[in-house]
């Protein structure tokens, strides 16, 4: 017996993008990616589609979002299983609780495991988020049905949780293995990966389009093929946009054309699907104009979006600090503050140093 399902998660419809401009286009790109996930399922003739939570963001989703989601689910036609996540928890007002949910959509609306037999020897266990954060899902869970046991859940792989981030509904691969699940189809991490241990597999498809900078891993969907009591997972890239964090060292640049030339080189190979954050650094020659607005205007049109962060230095601070002038004294003062332990004050002092020298230079200042 063969059974195929497509798993996706973290589409984050109606999310906001404050890191970078071009939010509307990126939201549209996320919706397109969901459409491509459905297309993939149709193309493969998948028997079911699973969604591992955060399909949309509840605080902004409205009727249009609901219509879009259910239209796509309806287009797929076959069973769709949804395990709501922390951004789209199941509640009385959630889109999943609407009366127009298509008949082929099954939402796991409890923070407890619910089994659904998919086919002979294949059982899908689903765990949904409610508005209140659930307990770790795999603690105390036992999946005992015969055959392949799939677990659909939204939560953090505690072993890979970033250091400064709080884990949501955390679990470990060992817990998954102990629970008896053959394969955990998860959502939450936007960078997808597949991990295996003790006969269990944990698979994150990642968000179908990158959402934030620093998301390492795949962005797409997972194709799960079950055959002869074995589940094989294959990641399929669906992302068409990229979040690119580029650094451009302008050290030694003594004029604006040189600056622009370096920037152009740094942005080489990027196109309209790339949303770029460009950090300008290095020490340019005194009097060298570095106009972030000009750079954004000049190169942004060829990209999805371009935000320029100017961190260049046009002065030799150490030398200026020894200048027996007011400027020298000011530079020395601000340099000392910028090297201090008070981080906010140091950041302010660093900027103040930049602005003060430009002001002494008579240059126009801009935030």
């Amino acid at each position: 017996m063969r059974y195929t399902l497509v798993h996706c998660a973290d589409i984050h419809l109606e999310t906001t993008f404050a890191e970078l401009r071009g939010g509307a286009r990126r939201r549209a790109a996320l919706a397109d990616a969901f459409v491509r996930a459905i297309d993939l399922a149709l193309e493969l003739g998948a028997d079911a589609l699973t969604i591992g939570g955060d399909l949309y963001e509840a605080q902004r989703a409205g009727p249009q979002t609901a219509r879009f989601i259910y239209e796509q689910c309806g287009r797929f036609g076959r069973p769709v299983f949804v395990a709501p996540g922390n951004h789209d928890p199941f509640g009385p007002t959630s889109l999943y609780a609407r009366a127009d949910v298509p008949a082929n959509v099954r939402v796991f609306n409890e923070s407890a495991w619910s089994p659904v037999p998919l086919a002979e020897g294949i059982t899908l266990y689903g765990f949904g988020h409610a508005p209140a954060e659930p307990d770790p899902p795999f603690v105390g869970a036992h999946f005992e049905r015969v055959g392949i046991r799939l677990a659909l859940v939204h939560g953090s792989d505690a072993e890979r949780c970033p250091p400064n981030k709080r884990a949501t509904a955390p679990f470990t691969l060992a817990e998954i293995a102990r629970s008896g699940a053959t394969l955990a189809l998860a959502g939450h991490y936007h960078g997808g990966y597949v991990a295996r241990a003790d006969g269990a597999t944990l698979a994150y498809p990642g968000s179908p389009e990158p959402i934030k900078f620093g998301e390492s891993g795949t962005h797409g969907a997972l194709v799960v093929r079950i055959e002869a009591d074995a589940a094989r997972v294959e990641a399929v890239e669906l992302a068409r946009t990229r979040l690119v964090d580029r650094t451009c060292d302008l050290s030694g640049a003594s004029n604006e054309p040189a600056v622009l030339s370096s920037v152009e080189a740094a942005l080489a190979g990027l196109g309209t699907d790339d949303f770029v954050r460009l950090r300008l650094g290095g020490q340019v020659a005194e009097g060298t104009r570095v106009d972030a607005t000009l750079i954004a205007e000049r190169y942004g049109s060829a990209l999805g979006a371009l935000d320029v962060l100017d961190r260049t230095r046009a002065y030799d601070y150490a030398r200026l600090a020894h200048e027996p002038t007011v400027r020298g004294r000011v530079v020395a003062d601000l340099l000392a503050l910028s090297n201090g332990e008070d981080a906010p004050l140091a950041a302010d002092a660093e900027r103040a140093l930049h602005y003060a020298l430009d002001a002494f230079d008579g240059s126009d200042l801009a935030p």
Partner: protein, 807 residues
């Protein structure tokens, strides 16, 4: 910096001029209009350029020579440079070469401008001009000059390649803050406040939008509730319709049964009614009339018989008729008035008799009064006379008590006699009056008696009482006669009525019961026929009621159609069922109507809510874009706030360091100047104060020990003080940077020889630190300086361009 050589191809009055400077002090001597100031200006122009076009034109060569020059100088680090400048193009035609003739213009540039002065001296033009170039007669630092020098000083101290330095930097920071953040008082250009307001507005819009989304949820829930309610009502209505069909079938079946029963009853009644068809037209209502007429005939007949019997009783017998005639002939013939008059006359006679009797009695009584008491009167009279006499005697006797007693008796007796006499006279009058009355009454009695007697006699009646009795009898008999007459009239009338009633009865009885039989039999016959007629009418009424009831049951329907409808309902599965007990068909129908109405209302409400929901959903905006806008605006606010903090921090440090630098500079300036000034003034003024802001110079006066304004000193001393300050400033500018050459354009024009003698050491001391170029018209100063080792250059006073120059 030390100037070494100056060559002017053409500059003002000079053409092809070559000057070599002494490393320490050079004195350029020349009379007025010899070109001393032109030379000083040429040095400045070669280092910094001529600047504005009017300045450029001012120094254009008089003789049309090439408007250019060269200036060679050495820096403290040993490097030597030559600046070549074509003044026609000024900053665009400047070349700086090193000692090897290499073009090092780029190294001496600020941006695109070749600025050897600013680069090699490290100070801008205004600082150079105001601090180290002392123009003719302007040694003093006061007013606008002090301000210009102060500003230049500040610029020089504050650093930076541009001329505005710290003050300019502060202005730039303020401008940036105002432009990108906005000031507190700005109303138009306040980006930060605008952003904050934008965030507030967009948050409010987002909250409104979220409220709309919640309202949509409510609306959707309400629509679903209504739809469910409508569906339930629909189910109930369907069930009610099924029950309605069952009830309808039951009703139809019942009606059809009733109609059948009624049809049978109507046929039976019709047959019964046919048995009474003989009285079909009998006027039943007239039977009562016949009975009334019968009773009336009977009554009238009885009344006639009775009246006739009463007539017989009332008739006068013949004896009574005779008596009546007799009585009418005697007393009965007297009229009532005559009889009354007769009775009155008789009564008047009786009254007169009584009055005569009474008058007689009165006369007799009065007579007795007159006649009685005569002896007593005589005795009294006699006694009175006697006693009167006795009294007289006694009076004479003077027996006074006796006199009094006798007198009293005499008076009493006399009074008695008088009274008695008076009574007798009155009684006599009464006797006469009574006698007269008696007589008059007797006359009247007589007359009346005679009249009554005559009447009785005429009627042959013995007395008045008999007359009265006879009159009464006559009246009684007459009344009876009248009564008999009345009874006779009544008997006739009664009989006529009885005959009329019998005729009326006979007429109606003949119609209702025929003419055979007695009246009683005919009445009985009529009554019987009437009863049969009533019975027939009863049957007819029952028939009519049945017809009406059937009509009611059937209504406008057709019985056959009803049977077909019942058959169809049964064929559709309807089970004839009667309504529940206690539930009327009207209530049942009303229940169905109510269900239908409520279902329609629920469906309408569902549709309405659906339309409202659809419309509301169409109006929902892009919340994500709104939230994103808020987030981006908040980031921008954070960026602007950080910018503001950085700008304010930079500003604070610049202000602080500027203030410190100025104060330090002022104190050091004081120290520099004070030592030399003490020496020049032979120890008189050992303390000099310089205001850091205004550069105002003050000294401590030894006479008072107080600090006083320099204006209180003599003009020469004042100029000395200012010169010292200038030189001190030049020395201080040289600290830590390139030392400045001092160009003094005839600063001692008004100094006498003695003062020059005291001032020259000051210049020499200054020349030890910085190169000094003194332009002077004072031959004494030129000579004295030359004697002290300064290089002297004399300018040709000729108006034509000077060509020379003697070293």
């Amino acid at each position: 910096m030390k100037l070494t050589r100056l060559h002017l191809d053409g500059f003002g009055r000079f053409g092809n001029l070559e000057i070599a400077f002494d490393p320490a002090m050079t004195v350029v001597y020349g009379p007025n209009e010899a070109g001393k100031s032109t030379l000083a200006a040429a040095v400045v122009a070669l280092l910094y350029g001529v600047g504005r076009k009017e300045d450029r034109d001012a120094w254009r060569p008089w003789n049309g020579a090439r408007y250019s020059g060269r200036l060679a100088y050495e820096l403290a680090d040993g490097r030597g440079f030559e600046v070549e400048r074509n003044f026609e193009r000024d900053s665009k035609a400047v070349r700086v070469r090193d000692r090897n003739g290499n073009d090092v213009s780029a190294e001496a540039s600020l941006g695109k401008v070749v600025a050897p002065g600013a680069v090699h001296l490290g100070i801008p033009l205004d600082v150079f001009v105001n601090a180290t170039c002392v123009r003719q007669g302007f040694v003093a630092i006061d007013g606008a000059r002090a301000e210009a020098i102060g500003t230049s000083l500040a610029h020089a101290l504050d650093g930076g390649p541009r001329e505005d330095a710290a003050l300019g930097a502060l202005a730039t920071l303020d401008r940036a803050l105002a432009t990108h953040v906005g000031t507190k008082r700005a109303t138009v250009n306040a980006p930060l406040r605008r952003l904050e307001a934008q965030v507030r507005d967009e948050r409010a819009r987002a909250a409104t939008l979220r409220g709309q989304l919640r309202a949509l949820d409510d609306l959707r829930a309400a629509r679903e509730r209504t739809a469910v309610a409508a569906a339930k009502l629909g189910e109930r209505r369907s069930e009610h319709q099924r029950r309605t069909r069952n009830v309808r079938a039951y009703d139809l079946r019942e009606r059809i049964e009733r109609l059948r029963r009624m049809r049978g009853e109507i046929a039976a009644l019709t047959q019964d009614r046919a048995a009474y068809d003989d009285v079909a037209d009998f006027p039943t209502q007239r039977v009562a009339e016949l009975q009334t007429l019968f009773a009336r005939a009977q009554t009238c007949d009885a009344l006639a018989v009775e009246t006739e019997r009463a007539l017989l009783d009332a008739r006068l017998t013949p004896a009574q008729q005779s008596e009546l005639e007799e009585r009418l002939a005697d007393g009965g013939g007297l009229g009532d008035a005559a009889f009354a008059s007769l009775q009155a006359t008789a009564a008047q006679g009786e009254e007169a008799r009584d009055r005569a009797s009474f008058a007689t009695a009165q006369a007799m009584a009065a007579r007795r009064d007159v006649e009685g008491g005569a002896s007593l009167l005589g005795a009294a009279t006699a006694s009175a006379v006697l006693l009167a006499l006795a009294t007289i005697v006694l009076t004479l006797e003077r027996a006074w008590p006796a006199v009094l007693a006798a007198g009293l008796v005499v008076v009493a007796c006399a009074s008695f006699v008088v009274t008695r006499l008076r009574r007798r006279r009155g009684a006599a009058v009464r006797v006469r009056s009574a006698q007269a009355d008696c007589d008059a009454a007797a006359v009247i009695e007589t007359a009346c008696t005679l009249e009554v007697a005559r009447t009785l006699e005429r009627l042959h009646v013995p007395s008045l009482n008999e007359l009265a009795r006879r009159r009464l009898r006559a009246t009684e008999l007459q009344a009876r006669k009248q009564a008999a007459s009345d009874a006779q009239a009544r008997a006739r009338t009664a009989r006529a009525n009885a005959l009329a009633a019998a005729a009326a009865f006979d007429a109606l009885a003949t119609r209702l019961a025929g003419s055979a039989g007695t009246r009683d039999q005919r009445v009985a016959t009529a009554r019987e026929r009437g009863e049969r007629s009533v019975a027939r009418e009863g049957l007819a009424l029952q028939l009519q009621m049945l017809q009406v009831a059937r009509g009611d049951v059937l209504g406008d329907d057709d019985e056959i159609e009803l049977e077909r409808e019942l058959a169809a309902l049964v064929a559709e599965g309807a089970v004839p069922t009667r309504l529940d007990d206690g539930l009327s068909s009207r209530a049942f129908a009303a229940e169905g109507d109510d269900l239908e109405r409520r279902e329609r209302a629920a469906l309408r409400e569902t549709d309405r809510l659906g339309a409202t929901l659809a419309q509301a959903e169409r109006q929902i905006g892009d919340l994500a874009a709104l939230d994103e806008g808020v987030a981006l605006a908040e980031i921008e606010i954070a960026r602007l706030t950080a910018f503001e903090r950085a700008i304010l921090l930079a500003r604070e440090r610049i202000e602080e360091r500027t203030r410190e630098a100025h104060e330090r500079f002022a104190r050091r300036l004081e120290d520099y100047a004070a030592a030399t000034f003490e020496r020049i003034t032979n120890g008189r003024y050992a303390e000099v104060r310089v205001d850091p802001t205004t550069l105002r110079v003050r000294v401590r006066a030894p006479e008072t020990g107080t600090i006083c304004e320099i204006e209180r000193l003599s003009a020469g001393t004042r100029e000395q003080a200012y010169l010292l300050v200038r030189l001190a400033m030049a020395r201080m500018f040289a600290e830590g940077a390139e030392r400045l050459p001092l160009l003094l354009d005839d600063p001692f024009a008004f100094w006498d020889a003695d003062r020059i003698g005291r001032g020259l050491p000051v210049l020499q001391a200054a020349a030890a630190d910085s190169q000094l170029v003194v332009f002077t018209a004072s031959a004494g100063l030129a000579e004295a300086a030359a004697q002290q080792g300064a290089r002297r250059i004399d300018l040709d006073p000729a108006p034509e361009p000077a060509r020379l120059l003697r070293p």
